[in-house]
């Protein structure tokens, strides 16, 4: 392993640690009250003290997020393929999709609660509704930008539209899909936590809301850190999938770099 490689692996950890150290020092030097901005050391201590609750609630959030994400992948793929493969569907559906994506999802949660009650289901639906859009758009872009020559080669061989879609369209869109998954998984976390904050009795969002209503600010921050860490973890899993499945799209680059 070269020195540059070692540095690249260490850099994100070093920067994170440095940030916490600076934060700690600033709180200490300026004597900031813990209920305004708790010191990292206090946050970590709270994390330890409340670890059973934190683990319980964060696993619930992880569960709703992943379910919502998987549904978003399925829905996004179907809509993206329909929009990308057919000009007509594109024209008909695109304004509606943009319109739906512009709606702040937090405004949807009360409606979903009226339909399904509070708890897990609204969180899943919110996560899904935030996350499907980038997936659909990216798949559609990948399909719509097939080179005309490639299409001609296949058509002159006698390929059907379905064959063009499966042999060129979908493999060609794979890098777009994986790029969008990385965005979608973080959006899914935002969706589920928002929904839990507004209407749930379980999950990290609920934990943070109830902690803040009791002025237990260190616990709120502990929740925030946990959500961030889960986001990084899921993002990393998407990156691993991406580099496994679409090696060709990163040709000539050092994958580890």
């Amino acid at each position: 392993m070269t020195n540059t490689r070692r540095l690249q692996i260490l850099a994100p950890w070093a920067v994170t640690v440095a940030l916490f150290v600076m934060w700690e020092l600033a709180c200490w030097l300026l004597s900031v009250a813990p209920f305004v901005l708790p010191r990292p050391s206090l946050i970590f201590k709270t994390m330890y003290d409340f670890h059973t609750q934190l683990i319980d609630h964060s696993l619930h959030t992880l569960f709703t997020t992943v379910i919502g994400f998987v549904l978003a992948v399925i829905g996004g793929l179907l809509i993206g393929i329909a929009v990308g493969a057919s000009r007509f569907v594109y024209v008909a559906l695109y304004p509606l999709l943009i319109g739906f994506n512009s709606i702040p999802k937090v405004a949807l949660v009360p409606i979903i609660v009226i339909w399904f009650g509070i708890g897990t289901v609204p969180a899943i639906i919110t996560a899904c509704s935030v996350a499907f859009f980038p997936i659909a758009v990216n798949i559609a872009t990948g399909l719509a930008t097939i080179e005309p020559e490639m299409r001609d080669v296949l058509r002159s061989l006698g390929a059907s539209s379905w064959e063009i879609l499966t042999k060129v369209g979908i493999p060609r869109s794979a890098p777009y899909l994986f790029a969008s998954l990385k965005i979608a998984i973080t959006l899914a976390f935002i969706g589920s936590v928002i929904s839990e904050t507004v209407a749930s009795n379980k999950g990290i969002g609920y934990l943070m809301l109830s902690a803040s209503s009791r002025f237990e600010v260190p616990l709120v921050f502990a929740g925030l850190l946990v959500v961030g860490a889960m986001g990084i973890g899921m993002y990393a899993i998407c990156v691993i999938f991406e580099s496994r499945m679409t090696r060709w799209a990163f040709r000539g680059q050092d994958m580890q770099g």
């Binding site: 020559e149 058509r155 002159s156 060709w248």
Partner: protein, 264 residues
């Protein structure tokens, strides 16, 4: 129409767009390609050469006139034609061998037999890669190959299912002069072995004369056939042939016809 002709284009016109703003790409064009012939179509740029290819393969319907391939009128994309473009259009997610195998997955009857006789088809594709000097590169991805090698693989993909008709749209246009001349010889050898019917669209007159039996000169847009030259140089032609007076005379003659066309 002679009994042997594989492609018969009769009085074909093609307009892109509609009404007054439509551009006439091809006008009253008539030409025939005999079975087993290598035909080149040359002309100034923007003369509708590429449109001609799309017309013959049925990718674009003519505005008037008709096109027959194997005696049948072309009304929709005809099946099983081999095509190669200037851009190699190989799929980066497939290995070179899998790229060459693509026609077997689409063209009948290979498509039906591919699963059960995969070994036989792989052997055919590997054999063809061998002929063009890519024997060892089947497992490599296209983006790991040089431009010239990609274009060889592209030719293999166009030919692997032994199509009766091969359409070449400036397949060597993006290559450097040395690689291009090398591939002329590769192309000629493949043609001598397999004797498919080929239509080459190019603006390189030496390439046209080197490879073909007949050269058609197309006029400025809208394209019409303004000259037809039979190239009776003996085969196989070599790089040496291109320096012989007879070869140079033919190229010169074609060049002056195109200059004349550009001047009018």
């Amino acid at each position: 129409m002679s009994a042997n002709s594989l492609v018969d284009i009769r009085d074909v016109s093609l307009t892109y767009g509609q009404g007054v703003e439509g551009t006439l790409a091809v006008e009253h064009l008539t030409l025939e390609i005999e079975k087993g012939d290598f035909v080149a179509v040359v002309g100034p740029s923007g003369c509708g050469k590429s449109s001609l290819m799309k017309l013959v393969t049925g990718l674009v319907p003519p505005s008037s006139g008709s096109i027959f391939v194997k005696g049948e009128k072309v009304t929709r994309p005809i099946q099983g034609v081999g095509m190669a473009f200037q851009n190699s259009t190989l799929m980066p997610w497939r290995t070179t061998l899998d790229n060459v195998m693509l026609p077997f997955e689409i063209v009948e009857p290979h498509k039906r037999h591919l699963r059960s006789e995969r070994g036989k088809y792989v052997a055919q594709a590997e054999q063809l890669l061998q002929t063009v000097g890519l024997g060892k590169f089947g497992k490599k991805f296209p983006w790991e190959l040089s431009g010239g090698m990609q274009q060889r693989a592209n030719l293999c993909r166009a030919l692997v299912h032994q199509p009766e008709l091969l359409m070449l749209d400036e397949p060597f246009g993006a290559l450097d002069a040395f690689t291009r001349e090398e591939l002329w010889s590769v192309m000629q050898n493949l043609w001598i072995q397999k004797r498919f019917t080929a239509m080459l669209v190019t603006h390189d007159l030496r390439e046209a004369v080197y490879l073909s039996d007949t050269v058609f000169v197309i006029s400025h847009r809208p394209g019409r056939v303004i000259y037809r030259a039979e190239i009776d140089l003996p085969r196989p032609r070599t790089l040496e042939t291109t320096f012989e007076p007879k070869f140079i005379d033919i190229v010169h003659d074609l060049r002056s016809r195109i200059s004349h066309e550009l001047a009018t």
